[in-house]
């Protein structure tokens, strides 16, 4: 069971890595094109700012999920490190459960928001806002998978 979960996790990490890296490159290209367009053609394109912002939101949520996998989120563990090994393990478990609970909360509340905003469309690109908000439950889901296939610390 855990073996299969670890395998799924590896596939997901590969996919996330490629997507997040690719989105950053898209953001870079779109912003750069925005500058070039303005000077070469005197024509600011109306959708580039919105497109780069939406890619940025997805990139950040995927990056946040990857940071859970790599255990690199900003945190402060200098106090709990001073505990005895036995107590330390328990506190790490508690912290991990907390992060898992937040991830679950992101899924539930995120899905509710996605459901609500399917009809709202963005002003420039005219895409449903639910596409943007979907990054939250997706990231919550990825975080849960990363947490459940990793060791006992967030």
């Amino acid at each position: 069971m855990l073996g299969a979960l670890k395998k799924i996790n590896r596939y997901l990490v590969t996919l996330e890595t490629a997507l997040a890296g690719g989105l950053l490159f898209v953001v870079f290209l779109v912003v750069l094109t925005q500058v070039l367009m303005r000077y070469l053609f005197g024509w600011p394109n109306p959708w580039s700012e919105e497109l780069s912002r939406f890619c940025f939101i997805w990139l950040s949520m995927l990056g946040a999920a990857l940071a859970v996998e790599r255990k690199s989120h900003f945190g402060f563990d200098q106090v709990v490190r001073k505990l005895s090994p036995e107590k330390y393990r328990w506190v790490r478990r508690l912290a991990k459960v907390t992060v898992a609970a937040v991830s679950a909360l992101l899924i539930v509340s995120g899905l509710a928001l996605v459901h609500l905003t399917g009809g709202q469309h963005s002003p420039a690109l005219d895409v449903p806002m639910s596409w943007v908000y979907a990054s939250v439950p997706v990231a919550g889901f990825l975080m849960l998978i990363h947490l459940s296939s990793g060791e006992d610390s967030p």
């Binding site: 890595t17 997040a20 890296g21 690719g22 989105l23 950053l24 490159f25 953001v27 870079f28 912003v31 750069l32 925005q34 500058v35 700012e49 780069s52 912002r53 940025f56 939101i57 990139l59 950040s60 949520m61 995927l62 990056g63 946040a64 999920a65 990857l66 940071a67 790599r70 690199s72 989120h73 900003f74 945190g75 402060f76 563990d77 200098q78 106090v79 709990v80 506190v91 790490r92 508690l94 912290a95 907390t98 992060v99 609970a101 937040v102 909360l105 992101l106 539930v108 509340s109 995120g110 509710a112 928001l113 609500l116 943007v132 908000y133 990054s135 939250v136 439950p137 610390s153 967030p154």
Partner: protein, 425 residues
Amino acid sequence: MGALPFGIFALFVLLGVPIAFALIIAGALILLGAEGMPLLIIPQQIVTGMDSFPMLAVPLFIWAGFIMDVGGISRRLVELAGSLVGHLPGGLGQVVVVSEVFFSGVSGSTSADAAAIGGIMVPQLTAKGYSRERATAIVSAACAMGILIPPAIVMVIFGVMGNVSIGKLFVACIPPALLMALGLMGQIGWQARRHNWPKAERASGATIRRAATEAMLPLFMIVVILGGIRIGLFTPTEAAAVAVAYSLILAVGVYRALSWTQFKDSLVQTAVVSGMVLLVVGAARLLSWVFAVTLVPQDLAVMVMGIGGGQTAFLLFTIIIFLPLGAVLEGVPAVVLLTPILLPLAKQLGIDPVHYGTVVVATQGISVFMPPVGVSLLVACSVGRVEPAAVSRHLWPYLVLMLAFTLLIAMVPEIVLFLPKLIGY
């Protein structure tokens, strides 16, 4: 009412829950306790916090820093610094400070600086007889100063959170940064004379010219970024994209130093760091929304105004509050959390937002290197392979000097405000 979310947040952070998650928990618990507050406010506020075009400068500047670190640019800047100041008392120590001034001018992140400058300079310093602890302390001090050199991630974040001109903040930070760099160089020179530290031969004119030619293309980027923003060629975010393009052209086209694997790694590294930073930004937005609904800012304003003492007292209060918070929470989260609360109060007291921002940026630069827990100090120590406890004895004198300069900047706003005024901001 205001103390409750702070208490929940602090409790979870102490238990080792990452800061962003502790913020979301605190926000969610308050929402659950209040009547008629739907939970979908959580994702909505997180996304709203991230949804900002100026904030896009953050991942782009971080990415440019990563490319320059592996792309052969940092080495050239160090060589130029070496030929310029290597012969002064405390030669290599001076080189660290000047390299950091150059490198920080092209890179936006402290961790990238500590890794790049520390990676090159710690081995050189130890080869010349400096102890590892001393070498790491000098690198840490230089990087703490380097946060004041634009472009810097914290300046972008302060600008976005506080609605302050990022371009103006960039320019305003230059004179205090140079002042602090000169101060550090003086201190290192004084220590070197007392303890007879080694120095190098004075470089010949030809050597300096060669090093300057080599470093010219990287250094020209500073002009492109700051000049381009000032004359309105592009916004700070667009400047960051131009910085990425420029460093890619240098690293791939000119120096041929960036492999495909390094390129992919730099993309993913950047994505992870933006995820870390932006989740805190989004989560902080959720909590400040909850605060605003529960009228905390007003209570706080009344409290702070009640203390009295005017501008000076408030700036001192800011420094005192940022030092421990920056050390514990990392600089970026501390700025994200405190700017929306403190900046309106500063404005109310008549403090110029750009002056206030400079004091905040300088303070948090020092805070992230504060022993024993400052996050960037830990990064520098892992680069230098030493224990933080052993470094702090050597680092404190530098930190005290920089703190003195920060107080000077706080007391004399003209140091910060004259340059933006001079060039017409």
